[in-house]
Every structure is written in C-alpha cells, then in structure tokens.
Symmetry: C2
Subunit: 491 residues, 2 copies
C-alpha cells in the first residue's frame, strides 16, 4: 500500500483520537470556565482534520493506493468514501450549517424555556434547506433522505428501511395493547435511597463481569452517558448515578459497556486505520442494546446478579423477590419521552420520527406543520395526547443539531441485536444457563469474533447477513418480544 | 495585525493546548494499554505543530505582520523567534535527536538497573554531539551552552549566569556548615499514618486559600506532580499522596499551585496568543518556589494553617507544637538527591550540574569522565561520598532526554523568588501579618499584577529588573536564608 497514503490515514485516525479525547474531557473533567476555549480547540482540530482529508495529495495517493491485501482494499475504500463525501461539500456550506446549528441550538433552548415551537420553527426550516443542499451535493437517486442516512448508516436506503419499519409498527401496536391490558408491575424503589458510591461499585462489578478491559478503558461520570475515547485500547464510558433511580446507573453502564466492548474488540492490527471503526451507528447500537436489553434485562442475568445487588442494598431490596425486580426492569408503559421508553414501545418513538423526517426531506411536510404532525402521530402510535411540548416535538436535541437521518439507527440497533441474539443462540448451546451462572464470556467472545473484529471491513447489513443468514428484518425482534413479554405479563 | 498571521498563531496555540491535554491525560487517566497509542497521537500532533510553525507562508505573514499595538509587536516577536529556531534545525537532526533520546532513555533505565554508568555513557556522548550540532545551527558567539539555555531561558547567557552561581556557591557552603553544627529537628512523623482522603482535603483547602480558581483549573493525582492544562482557564495541577509522608502532598500542592496561579494569571486578552506563556522556566519556577518555600514554609503561614492541619490530624499532631512542625518543614540536610533537597542545599545540587554541563558542552569534560567528575563535585560541594550511582550521576532523567541547559532554571527560580519577595515586602506593608491570618490574596494579587499578567511581553531578567530595580542577583536569596535559618537554628 502507498506509504504516503498509509501515513496520512494514521495521521487522520490520530487526529480523530485526539478530538475524541478533547470531547470526552469536555463532558467529564473540563473546568467550567474553559468551555469556550475548548470549543475553539475542537474547532481548530476539526478544521485541521478536514483540511488533511480534502488535501488534493490524498486524492492522488488514493488513486495510486496499491492495496496489497483485502484489509488494505477495505481501508482504502472507507477512506476514499470519507474523503469523497467531504470534498463534495463546499466549505461555505459547511460554515453555513455550523452557524445554523449554533443558532438553532439557542432557539431550541429558548423554545423549551417558553414551551412553544415558534422560536424554533424557522431554524428547522433553515436546517432542512441546508441539509437538502448537502444531500444534493453528496448525490442520490431522487430520495434525498438516502444521502443523509449515508452519514450514519452507509449502504442503507429508504426503500429498504420503510417496509421493515412499517411492518414493525403494525406488529408492535397489538403487543403494546396486550401488555396494557395486564396489571402493571409494583413500584419497588419508591421512597428508597441508594448510596451513590455503592451504585458506582456495582456498575464497576458489572463492567468486569461483561469483560470490559479496564486496562484498555475506563468509566467516569457525566450528565449524559456516552462512549468515547481515543482508540481501541482507550475506550471511555460514562454513567450517571441518581440516589432515587438506582436502575439508571445499572442500565447506563450495561448499555455503554456494550458500546465499549465493541470498540475494544476491533482487531488490534486495524489500530490507527479506517477499519478500526463501526460501519454503522445501527450496528454500534445493536451492541449496546443487546447487552442492555436482551442480556441485561433477562431472567438468567438477574438470577445471578440480583442476589449480589441485594447484598449491596440489603435494606432496600432484601425483601423484594427477584420476580418483582424482573418485572420492574421490564416495565412497559406508553410514554411521551423516547429516552425513557422501554424496549417494547421504544421503536414506536423511532417510527414516529422516521416518518416525519422522510416527509420533511421530501417536502411533503413543512416545518410549520411539524408540531401538529408530531402530536397526530403520538396519538396514532402511542394513544397519548401531547400536553407539554417539551415532552413532544421539542424533546430531542437531534434536529437542533441539524441531524436528520440519525433516529432510525436506534431502531436498526434493536432489530440487529435481536437477529444477532438468535444467531448466537443457534451457535452456542446453553447460553442462558451460562449467563445464569454469571458467565458472560461466551456472549462477549461470540460478538467479538463475529462483529467486533470485523470493524469496517464491510457495511452493516452485508455483515449481518453473513452472520445470521438473513439481512435486516423485524421478525427476530418481534419473536423475542413475544416470548419474553408473553412470559412476564402472562399473555 | 495580519489576519492570516493572527489566525495561525491561534491555531498553533490551540494545538499546543490539545497537546497539553493529551500529556496531562497520559499522566493521570490514560488506561495502561493505551500508552503506545498515546505516544503515536502525541507524535502526530507535535509533527503537525512543527509543520504549521515552519510553513513558509507563516514566514511571509511574519515579514508582513503589521502589528498595531505594543502587545501585537510582542506577539509577533515571540512567534518569530519560535519559528526561527524551529526552521534552523534540519528535520534529519530533529529525527536523530528523537531516536537518540529514545535509546538513551532505555540505556539510562538499564544503567540504573545495573547500577553502573557504562551502558549510559555512549548515549550521553551521542546526545552531547547532537546538542552541539543543534547549538551551532541555532547560532552562538562561541559559547554553545548559550544556544541551549535559550530553549528554557531566552536571553540568559553563561557569562551572566556563571559569576552569580559561583558567588552563590561560595556563600552557601558556610551557611550549610553552620546549620550542620546545630542539633537537627525532631522527627515528628515517624511511625504515624495520615489518611489519604484527609490529606487530599487539606491540599484542596490550601489551593482555595492560595486563590487558585477551581472553575478555571483542577487538581488530580499523578506519580510525579506537575502543572499542565490547555490554557489560562484550564490549568491542571497534580499532587501525590503518601500515607507515611504527609508533607509530600502539602508541598507538592503549594508548589504546583504556585505554577498554576501563574498560568491562570496570564492576561485574558492574551488567550490563544504567544503572550499567554512564561518568558522563562526560571521565572515559572520562581512562582512555585516563592509559594512553596518562602510563603509555604514560613512561620506566619503555619501560625494560621497549622491549627487547621492539627484539626485534620488530631491523633497524629495534636501534641506536636508549631515550633517542632516548623523546624521539621525546614529541615536542612546535606543529601545526595536533588529532588529531595531542602531550599538551602538545593542550589548546590544545581551548581554541580551546571558546572558539569558547561564543561561537557565546551568539550572540557568527556562523557567517559562524567561519573568521576560528578563524584568529585559531590565531595567538594556537599562533603558526601557517592556510593549508590542511582543517587549520583544517574539520579536525574534530564540528560537521558538530552536536556542540557535546563538545570540552572531551578536555581534562577530560587533567586528570582527571593528578589520578588523582597520587592513585594517593600510594596506591601504587613505582609507577614496578613499571611498569619490566612489572608494570602495580597501575595497572589501582587504577583498577578507584576508578573503573571505580563506573560511573554518581555524576557525574564528585564521583567525582574523592572519589578525589583535590580537584575539577576543572589543577594536577596542569601539574605533571606540568613534571616530565616538564623532564627530557626539559632545561628
């Protein structure tokens, strides 16, 4: 492989790593008064990364890449795609988007303050217009949303995604109704306090049990949990601890731990190359959701960990049976807010956003009608009447960032996770029994071998197809829900 | 001022800031397995910084700088000097030095392992040769050491420094002898344990009392205490805590706190410019030493803080009188190891290294004779016979890094500190009384106004001259020692 090309690729990955560090630090340890300075530093670093990426010499080196192995071919393909997308956007448009984002964020905060959509509406309009321009610059075959999806989910298309999500929507509604008809779980945490340090200790215990390598990563605290870091040997998770909401730290840690295991699992020989990254946000999300929901909210998992959790919180949980705890961690409830939704209703929140985003990008829906459309869909999908707009169309920050096309990756994560879980159970006998003894290594090792080590050798759906024998489907997810919630709710 | 020039200066400062973050992180929170990756990231960042600095366009912009104010003139001068020095060194020489450093570091570790100078000797020879080449590339008027001094102490020269240090040497020897003849302080900490968390809490209390802004900085733990960070609103100190050596955390924190106050005190309007930095390592060290030794080991300081320290460690110190504590924190002892030396003998360790370095650079001393020369000077200056080479010529890491010319900045720090202290007492009446009530703001504010806010507007000695009315001198330091230790030791 062309030496200059290889060196530039490593440089770009190093820059991305350092940007990762500065971003992590911003959310964890940055002193308050340094926020503006950090924004400037990050701006400088991102501009440098961009400059080195669009550098015409890199274009020449890519044209004369001479990859010598299949991995090198993949490295070159990924880098060339990244560069091509960067080159296609004029710097004036990049700047216009950055400015529009900045204004939209302020307006979004103001709108939430005043609980009205109005101040935010013109900014949504502006961001949509800029994103349409970008989509056209990137290129598409008539469906602009495809060009945006490509940012997060290379290879995915509206015509592939829409029927799957439509089918999912149709199947979810009766499941939610059936659960709705059953009595809800008891509230086992009400009025109880859970010591922060003890919660922290338990999350560290969980990370170790999952096989997260604490010599190649760490966990810290932040307001919004996330996974970041600077490379596959430096993966940084955060969690948050609330004394009155003990499940928050537990499931944040398992969720981010799933992301973290993925990042730690990239092939060491891909370090500092474009292959040591995920091919899609949906696939990344499948790792966190598989761990958080499928493993981390399962009967076998807690049959082992619940006695340990009770030991940690004897006074609070000593007399709460496992069955009540399990029903609590799998509480299903139609609710307004996506980030608080359970795994059954969650995808309805995504379908809602996806349908709106596609309509917005096509011009079938205008920003002026967005609030009403949101409320209609909430009624339609969740049988809820939005009263507080901050729990309605203003709840997510994504659109204020001009991020259209991101939401469906969460649903893809759920669907991929269920399909991977089915394949894992086909490959490994007695997986539940193993988990029931606290032995989580088989899960980690299977994912490592099948998913993590692959990195960005190919796009997400082809990889899923190779592993499971089928591509994107909602069948495995729906079956999983039916079996699990059938047992939990007696339906 | 030329807009391109200003933007490039800000970019370079941002890059330096991010390098600062990655370095701080390396010593505090970096996962063990990420060390090699971090070295690569830092290498990439430093190479980028170098490339942007030597960029010919920057040379053109500097030639067409159009500074509009005295501050802008100073900014341009500092940046031009930095660039000129970078441009003069061929990249082959930079690379050769980096490689020689890397090998020398391994050899130094091996030599310490085997307790013999031999494996290290050829590397010292090689590094000296490369440093001579660099000195010649930078340029000098016959004294190569001057060109190296310029790295750390712009404007300082051997012919200025040698007579001052020679005079200091002459005056220190009889002071040490006089103290030697007196009974040593009692050992008040022996066999006692000091809780780590309580020590940490006390150091945070000290930082607040010093006026260190914890919204524009932080303190963490590291093996070797240092001050770093990413800018004047993001200053990061570290300290270390040993349960059996309680003074270590106290004086590390005060020392780094002095450095930290300096960095936080640069003029806000100089942020992201070349003026928001020290003109010299010696001046930087004067800030840490003034706080650590002159303020932090003084009778007034502890007359206020000792009762609070006793409250923290009632069982250990409740029956130890202030006078015994004060004598303990000012224990004077001829010893082998520089970093453990007290403020009286410390400069003898520096004189020793300075005389050897100058002789090495001139070619009057060969690497082969370095160990013997070290031992001779130790006998001469400290009346000690080196038995363990790891406490002799192999004790410091500086030479293994090829750093010749750094050591004298420590002595300059001590001398500048004493001169600043004298000037401060001339300007502020009742300084001791103020400190004795725990009121340290007058110290901080005077240093902020006279030293910190100046940044790199001019070189260190001219600044000292402007503040004190005299340039570099050992008179103030020697007077300070005589008064203080005369009282403590009854001489």
């Amino acid at each position: 492989m062309n030496e200059n090309l290889f060196a530039r690729m490593q440089e770009l990955r190093d820059l991305a790593g350092v940007i990762g560090l500065a971003t992590w630090d911003q959310e964890t340890y940055l002193p308050k008064k340094a926020e503006a300075g950090r924004a400037a530093q990050l701006g400088t670093m991102q501009a440098l990364h961009h400059e080195r990426l669009v550098d015409p010499r890199l274009g020449e080196w890519l044209a004369d890449a001479k990859p010598a192995t299949p991995d090198e071919t993949a490295m070159v393909r990924v880098l060339a795609r990244e560069r091509e997308r960067a080159v296609k956007i004029p710097s004036a448009l990049v700047k216009a988007l950055a400015e529009a984002q900045s204004h939209a964020l302020s307006a979004w905060r103001e709108a939430r303050e005043e609980k009205t959509f109005k101040p935010f509406q013109p900014h949504v309009q502006k961001l949509l217009q800029l994103r349409r321009e970008m989509a056209d610059a990137w290129g598409h075959d008539g469906e602009r949303y495809d060009a945006l999806l490509e940012n997060y989910e290379p290879g995915m298309r509206v015509k592939r995604l829409t029927p799957v999500l439509a089918d999912l929507r149709t199947k979810l509604v009766p499941i939610v109704q059936a659960i709705d008809a059953r009595p809800p779980p008891k509230r086992i945490f009400e009025g109880k306090t859970f010591d922060s340090e003890a919660q922290w200790g338990f999350t560290m215990h969980l990370l170790e049990a999952m096989g997260f390598d604490l010599e190649a990563g760490r966990q810290d605290r932040s307001t919004h949990p996330f996974t970041g870091g600077t490379g596959l040997r430096d993966v940084r998770l955060t969690t948050r601890v609330f004394p009155h909401l003990p499940l928050s730290s537990v499931f944040s840690t398992i969720h981010e731990g799933g992301h973290g295991l993925y990042e730690q699992g990239f092939a060491p020989e891909h370090d500092r190359t474009t292959l040591a990254q995920t091919p899609s946000m949906g696939l990344h999300e499948s790792q966190s959701r598989l761990w958080e929901n499928i493993v981390g909210r399962s009967q076998p998992f807690w049959s082992y960990f619940y006695p340990r959790y009770q030991d940690t919180f004897r006074a609070q949980l000593g007399d709460v049976p496992l069955s009540d705890f399990l029903r609590e961690v799998n509480r299903v409830e139609r609710s307004f807010v996506r980030v608080e939704a359970d795994e059954v209703t969650y995808n309805l929140h995504i379908v809602l956003r996806y349908e709106l985003e596609v309509a917005l990008m096509r011009g079938d829906l205008q920003a002026a009608d967005l609030e009403a459309a949101w409320n209609d869909k909430t009624r339609d999908l969740l049988q809820l009447e939005v009263k507080n707009i901050n729990q309605g169309v203003l709840q997510d920050i994504h659109w204020a960032y001009g991020e259209f096309g991101y939401f469906p990756t969460y649903a893809l994560g759920n669907l991929y996770a269920a399909s991977l879980w089915k394949a894992m159970n086909r490959d490994i006998r007695g997986l539940d029994e193993s988990i029931g003894t606290g032995e989580l290594a088989p899960v980690k090792n299977w994912l490592r071998e099948k998913v993590h080590r692959e990195g960005f050798r190919c796009d997400a759906e082809p990889l899923i197809t190779r592993i499971t024998g089928a591509g994107l489907t909602d069948d495995d997810f729906v079956s999983y829900l039916k079996v699990k919630y059938g047992a939990l709710y007696g339906i």
